[in-house]
Chain length 360, copies 2
Amino acid sequence: MPLPTHSNRFILSHPPTDLPVLSGPSPTFSLQTSPLPSLSPDQVVLKTIFISNDPAQRAWITAGLDPARLYTPPVLPGQVMRSRNVATVLDSTSEKYQPGDLVMMSMGWIDHLVTDAGNVDRKIEKVPGLSETHFLGALGLTGLTALYGIRDIARATGGETVVVSGAAGATGSMVVQIAKHVIGVKRVIGIAGDEKKCRWVEGLGADVCLNYKEEGFREKMVEATPEYVEVYFDNVGGHILDFMLTRMKRFGRVAACGAITQYNKGEKDGLKNWFEVISNRIEIKGFVILDFIGAGKGPAAVGELVQAYKDGKIKLGDENETVVDTKFADVPKTWMMLFEGKNTGKLVTKITDGAVQGSL
Amino acid sequence: MPLPTHSNRFILSHPPTDLPVLSGPSPTFSLQTSPLPSLSPDQVVLKTIFISNDPAQRAWITAGLDPARLYTPPVLPGQVMRSRNVATVLDSTSEKYQPGDLVMMSMGWIDHLVTDAGNVDRKIEKVPGLSETHFLGALGLTGLTALYGIRDIARATGGETVVVSGAAGATGSMVVQIAKHVIGVKRVIGIAGDEKKCRWVEGLGADVCLNYKEEGFREKMVEATPEYVEVYFDNVGGHILDFMLTRMKRFGRVAACGAITQYNKGEKDGLKNWFEVISNRIEIKGFVILDFIGAGKGPAAVGELVQAYKDGKIKLGDENETVVDTKFADVPKTWMMLFEGKNTGKLVTKITDGAVQGSL
């Protein structure tokens, strides 16, 4: 196979305040092409195979954010959109990597890259029965987020009831499984956006999963939580979070993980049930997985998750991810599915075109 | 002095959703008079001298609240409005109390009461230089709320910066003093509603106090917190809380004590800066002083506060309270001053009429 001569990449061109736009006079991203340099010593040529899609990426590109208030640096106009990638090594002058190796790296939305071997995170080992894409999700930052959030932040334990929003999403579906099968809490209630997702979440171990788009959702949640809930794991923010504040048991804990309903809203939904926090002594903790990783707890936790998978406590099938075949030119379009509620489990982009000659 | 023959009381007649109303066709409270029974054995006749006014009282009377979600039972229509009182014993068949004793009891908005001696909380001992009204405030539940909130809930310590809203209020003014002089934090920033109050708060020990009604308040707070703040003690909720979320340091703590700006709003101000909670790993804890009391920690903590007063670390002067001379018929009107920002420190109602003959 001939080596690529050019690299294609999406740069941030117009930081959005609301929903990103892919066309028109001010598109959020624009595609650029440049020649690929030749290999220097101890470098590799990488070709992106899979791209991880994460709600947090939306936060990195919002117009006018104060970098000091973000947990990772923002993506600035003119910079390549940041992402986690699984790539294959096309060529190498490094002893560490051989052509054909699969590696993990935060390459961004770029199809080919020549980079120092030291910039690559690590080689991905083949695990029988497991798709390598799971290392972008259930066995990667997503799974660690779920584990850290439900165990260390929310401190869910045996006799408790846990409610998880975004329960059919990448993080939520792992929270459901970890809470029910690894920690072994008494009751897990999922919240998701359609019936099919809800049934899938129940298959993962939720005692019940409620469809928030269905009429009567709130009444059903009230019925399902007659003694209120000790733990709410929030992936969505907005109205569902506001409602859940009214369902927290006295001294209940909220793990604030994400707010996907709000990222594309310049004018946020306001939380109005604040008095519940006071009168019911609710504890709320925001958290970011990077703290857990930074504390050196990542590798051991990945090991725990892999063990839980081997023990049958965590299911990692095709349904834990939505892998979308995508031409490189459509990478932003696939990413946008995150905000359309179209994915079940982790949303992964699979690059289907070779684009090795520098044109798409 | 002849003993009273009648008892006057304010009952809740129309639970409000917004600001309570004192007149018109549906007044929030109405005045009732009934004959005072004669004394049975082991009873006392009490006459209210002082009434404590507390923002939390507003929460007890809101229409349609679920009693299970309140930290004390609501006041129901037809019931006497609940309050903490300092009363004098007019007559007694109990060995425990003598005519002339000052006592503390949750009598409510009632001028005279015949009750079992066992219902009285305790006798108030005279402390030289201290007005007995302070036992309704700085040396009562108010002071304990401040101590518990800033020390146990927010866990403020030496090198930190603490922001206190409602800093000229009963609780806030104690938080300022405890944080600065008892705990000894590095920097205390108050927020209050006018210049005079702000200067008073600075006199108590705040390094600076900002007037939230003044134009440029937010810019001044940003200037005053270049390295953000570790602790925010919130007495007000609403827009100030929402703004302060943007000034929290990473891993900062919010003690959620009250929301006086919201109690009279049927439609609450929404909190829109929720994403700060996630991205800056903010911890929020609601709390209620009754938990601290219930855990048996009250008496020792009152002792600590009295000692801090004797050591000169806490000032308790006339400015720590606003004592309003009030005819019994105007008790609701004085209470409403809480929501008009008219009090500095604890707002105390002093009953000036005898009303001993049952007519006002």
